[in-house]
């Protein structure tokens, strides 16, 4: 099969859906002529024009608010917020409007939109450009939260997101844009709420998201040689969340590490740990270990950012604790 990047996979999905459905359009900062900070919307402006690839004023509240309005008006907007770090500036639109309108109006109207944004620490961009605060969105009822870790998942899940009639937060990860993987040329979808077992194993389960999936897989490969068999599961969507696949794995391995780049306190690793602890306590031989960003802001300086980002080192330490 052909191999493309994560960024190309996202681009392909947007392009396909725009071609198929006249009501699909993009809005955001620097998505048009520049083609987005990570090239995910490059050449779409040339192909579809400004009407459908709208470079907006520097106004996050208006970007999300106008997308909600356009959705209410019958369109299928794909707003982009350049970095997740800028979503707090428009959080009211996301939390109090986008997530609630369908519910508050008694189900009379749908809000079909896909808010694309970017998370993760990379390249020493300091405390205001390195965050992974999507647990804010998981905490908000009414938002579908998608976290693809591979080009294949990115394309399939974005196709599903654009087709869905409810608001989606589509979380892209900075360190993954140039990663490559096999992606079919034809259209396909991946259902929400269906975790993917990225690697099977018997001794230990690692539930990981985004870039940490790849760290876990690399480590699992290394440890296989030492005789340790690790199962790696990627939930792929945080809301809805596929408990069953994880429960089944824990039943088999009896040990669990949860790895996610959001901050430890009230982060995604904590939430997943709680879900498993609540229902699978009897199957666990050891306490669940969380691998996450520390309860700290991401500092600028190289050695500090390197220490900050959870990765293989932290996973290794966690494995040493449970095995």
């Amino acid at each position: 099969m052909r191999t493309i990047t994560y960024s190309e996979a996202i681009h392909e999905s947007i392009d396909y859906n725009m071609e198929k459905d006249e009501t699909v359009f993009n809005l955001g900062e620097d998505i048009g002529v520049l083609g987005g900070g990570f090239r995910a919307t490059h050449d779409l402006y040339e192909k579809y024009g400004r009407k459908r690839v709208l470079d907006t004023p520097l106004s996050e509240i208006a970007i999300v608010g106008a997308a909600i309005g356009a959705a209410l008006g019958g369109l299928r907007p794909i707003p982009e917020i350049m970095y997740i770090d800028f979503t707090p500036g428009c959080m009211d639109m996301i939390v109090n409007q986008m997530a609630k309108i369908h519910f508050m109006f008694g189900g009379q109207i749908k809000v079909p939109m896909v808010l694309r944004t970017v998370c993760g620490a990379a390249g020493y961009n300091a405390a205001q450009h390195s965050q992974s605060m999507y647990p804010f969105f998981v905490h908000t009822p009414g938002l579908i939260v998608v976290t693809p870790s591979t080009p294949y998942d990115a394309k399939g899940l974005l196709n599903t997101s654009i087709a869905d009639d409810n608001p989606v937060i589509f979380m892209e990860h900075k360190r993954l844009y140039t990663s490559k993987g096999e992606v079919p040329e034809e259209f396909y979808t991946i259902p929400f709420g269906k975790a993917d077992v990225k690697r099977e194993g018997d001794d230990l389960t690692i539930v990981a998201t985004h870039a940490l999936v790849h760290d876990a897989l690399a480590l699992a490969e290394e440890m296989e040689k030492e005789g340790t068999s690790i199962e790696v599961i990627d939930p792929r969507t945080l809301v809805p969340f596929d408990k069953e696949t994880i429960f089944k794995s824990v039943e088999k391995t009896n040990k669990l590490i949860v790895a996610d780049e959001s901050i430890l306190s009230c982060g995604m690793a904590s939430e997943i740990s709680a879900i498993v602890a609540e229902e699978m306590f009897d199957y666990l031989d050891k306490p669940i270990i969380r691998v996450a960003s520390p309860n700290c802001h991401c500092p600028f300086s190289m050695p500090l950012e390197d220490a900050y980002i959870p990765g293989k080192e932290e996973l290794k330490e966690a494995i040493a604790k449970v095995l």
């Binding site: 900062e29 620097d30 048009g32 002529v33 520049l34 470079d55 907006t56 004023p57 520097l58 106004s59 996050e60 509240i61 770090d85 800028f86 500036g89 390249g123 020493y124 961009n125 300091a126 405390a127 205001q128 450009h129 520390p294 309860n295 700290c296 802001h297 500092p299 600028f300 300086s301 190289m302 050695p303 500090l304 390197d306 220490a307 900050y308």
Partner: protein, 321 residues
């Protein structure tokens, strides 16, 4: 307005310091020696210099993501600034901030900012603290033309107006917000027109003419210090470089002719020419100034290189809980 020869020479000196700092930082970035997001202000030097020459030592500065020039003009020094760009513990923020979070509190430099518009309401609040305590200070708050379209702009300036905060809001209108041109950002010719919406004074000035910026800021500062509340000053200028140091050929979205036309309006050359014509300064003296700054920069880079990086174990330092 009469501006002394000494002040004119100081303006030239300050602008040259900014230009040469930006050039050196850009080179170090391209060489891979410094990292992160680096937003250079080459071509915009007249704005911070013309404005900040009107401030007193204890006045406050709120800066934007493109803030090296503001910090330098307000008394920032090469060594700790360069060290911060290198992520060293001898930097102003001990390597925690980098270019987007330069702060030098001793000089009331309350930081550059990675969130566009983020400093505007904060400036209003610093202004209110001045009103509250009755000190004779003021705030200069620099922002871009892009920032003028945030909600923070509206709320921050309106708040400052209502509490009569002594804040000079300076829109450094460099015509672009990354790749988004003014025509897609707002429908105004002069952004200073927005002042009327807040019931405050507003003025637009040629941001590449440091003497004009100085005069306009001087007038504004007098109003502010007289207790008449905030003023909105728009300085029209141009971003010479890519949006950030890693974006070299930003010309993909800008007409090269537009860039060329603005390059001809270099604020430093303009002042140099005037000073040479008036025989206030000689070519040799300018040459001497350039060299002196280069030498100072060499020392700053040496200092930064030799300074230690933070220990990984210090990750949680400066976090109080």
């Amino acid at each position: 307005m009469k501006i002394s020869n000494d002040d004119k020479i100081k303006m030239l000196w300050e602008m040259m310091r900014i230009r040469q700092f930006e050039e050196r930082a850009g080179e170090l970035y391209v060489a891979g020696i410094i990292t992160g997001a680096l937003h250079a202000s080459n071509g915009q030097e007249a704005v911070p210099v013309g404005v900040i020459m009107n401030l007193k030592e204890d006045d406050y500065l709120q800066s934007s993501h493109r803030g090296h020039g503001h910090v330098l003009a307000k008394g920032g020094e090469f060594k700790p600034m360069m060290a911060e760009l290198f992520g060293k513990i001898t930097g102003y923020c001990k390597g925690r901030g980098g270019s987007m979070h330069f702060a030098y509190v001793e000089k009331n430099i309350l930081g550059t900012n990675g969130i566009v518009g983020g400093g505007i309401p904060i400036a209003a609040g610093v202004g209110y603290s001045i009103v509250y305590k009755g000190t004779n200070q003021m705030v200069a708050c620099f922002l871009g033309d892009g920032a003028a379209n945030t909600g923070a702009f509206h709320e921050g300036i309106n708040f400052a107006a209502v509490v009569n905060a002594p804040v000079l809001f300076v829109i450094e209108n460099n015509q672009w917000a990354i790749s988004v041109p003014r025509k897609w950002s707002d429908r105004l010719v002069d952004l200073s027109k927005r002042a009327a919406a807040y019931g405050i004074l507003g003025e637009t000035v040629d941001g590449n003419d440091v003497l004009a910026v100085y005069e306009a800021a001087n007038k504004a500062v007098k109003e502010i210090r007289a207790g008449n509340g905030p003023v909105l000053l728009e300085c029209k200028t141009y971003r010479w470089k890519g949006h950030h140091a890693g974006e070299p050929a930003s010309l993909q979205y800008r007409d090269p002719k537009e860039v060329e036309a603005w390059l001809k309006k270099c604020p430093i050359k303009k002042l140099e020419k005037a000073l040479l014509e008036e025989k206030i300064i000689s070519e040799a003296e300018i040459e001497e100034m350039t060299k002196k700054i280069e030498q100072e920069l060499d020392e700053a880079v040496e200092f930064a290189k030799k300074s230690p990086l933070p220990e990984a174990a210090s990750l949680h330092d400066h976090l109080y809980v």
